[in-house]
Symmetry: C2
Subunit: 192 residues, 2 copies
């Protein structure tokens, strides 16, 4: 199995991503190496900068994943700052901000940037749904307890990893990225 | 023609590289964007870091080229610090260091790192020869006036760009890099 480093300090993300990578023949090695995270409203730009600078110091095949929750009635807040906003005002703060608000539409977006010489693969994934009236479930992390994807009644925190992976923003982006990498590697068999 | 940015402040390098890139269908656009150049004895590491960090800020297809003159009797000095050593002690300093030294073997090495999504191409080029007893010629730049490639009697500074490009370290590395990029692009026609 090909090893690939996942630059993240989020153990939960690793558990989500492992089964997907493994499906395509990649074994994930986590690193706690600090990522350079720039301020930007563009998830792709944030993830690319993190991946490129991590690769400059680590020099091993790696990927980063960056995600955000974009809430329509809050002009996209907390977006790329979701992790910071979660650590400060939390799910409670978001529910407070949406008090008496009937437009609860929101989308989770994820960007994966994968560097595996001679390839750079960038893929995005998105899932839309709504913000629940109260937190539900104990699985997942971050804003999972208040996000219900369209077509479902459960929050992400009420789903198993397998269930969430099937249509989550991260599941989609990671799946596309490894699929693409594998196909690039196969098309360029002369490179192996 | 596909545009590609050359991150360098050295106009002479641009003039050397242009005809090679153009042969493979690429048009060079120079940028004076400062490169992040780390201290290292490894040219590949220096060039990769410069390319990855430049790409993080510029986000356009680009390449960097880093070169050095490695003199055997001086334990590889000035190597990756050739540009700094040239600006300080110059050709004169090198000739002084090699006074009364009969081992005048030296090699020029070049590394090209090219980032053109979804590809990263890294190629090296080398040419060996010897350090002349005195500077000769007005062409080229850096240590060109004191380097004579094996099989020739002229220094690099006595050659035209075309002549130097045919077997210089830079000519070889750049040629290999663009050739490789073109072949990757052709193999992956679905990506265009």
């Amino acid at each position: 199995m090909n090893e690939i480093v996942f630059v993240t300090r989020n153990e939960y993300k690793v558990r989500e991503v492992e089964p997907i990578a493994s499906k395509y023949g990649f074994k994930i090695v986590q690193t706690n190496l600090p990522k350079l995270e720039i301020q930007s409203e563009d998830l792709v730009k944030i993830a690319k900068t993190a991946a490129l600078t991590s690769y400059a110091s680590l020099n091993k095949p790696l990927f980063v994943e960056d995600a955000g929750l974009f809430i329509e009635a809050l002009n996209g807040f907390p977006g790329p700052y979701s992790s910071y906003v979660y650590r400060t005002i939390g799910c409670k703060g978001i529910l407070k901000l949406l008090e008496n608000c009937n437009d609860r539409n929101a989308c989770f977006k994820s960007v994966v940037v994968l560097i595996y010489e001679p390839f750079i693969v960038i893929e995005e994934g998105e899932v839309c749904g709504y913000i629940s009236r109260e937190p539900r479930g104990t699985g997942g992390f971050g804003f999972d307890p208040i996000f219900v994807p369209h077509g479902f009644s459960k929050t992400f925190a009420e789903m198993s990893i397998e269930e969430k992976n099937r249509f989550s923003h991260r599941g989609r982006a990671v799946d596309k990225a490894f699929k693409r990498l594998l196909s690039l590697l196969k098309e360029n068999t002369s490179l192996r």
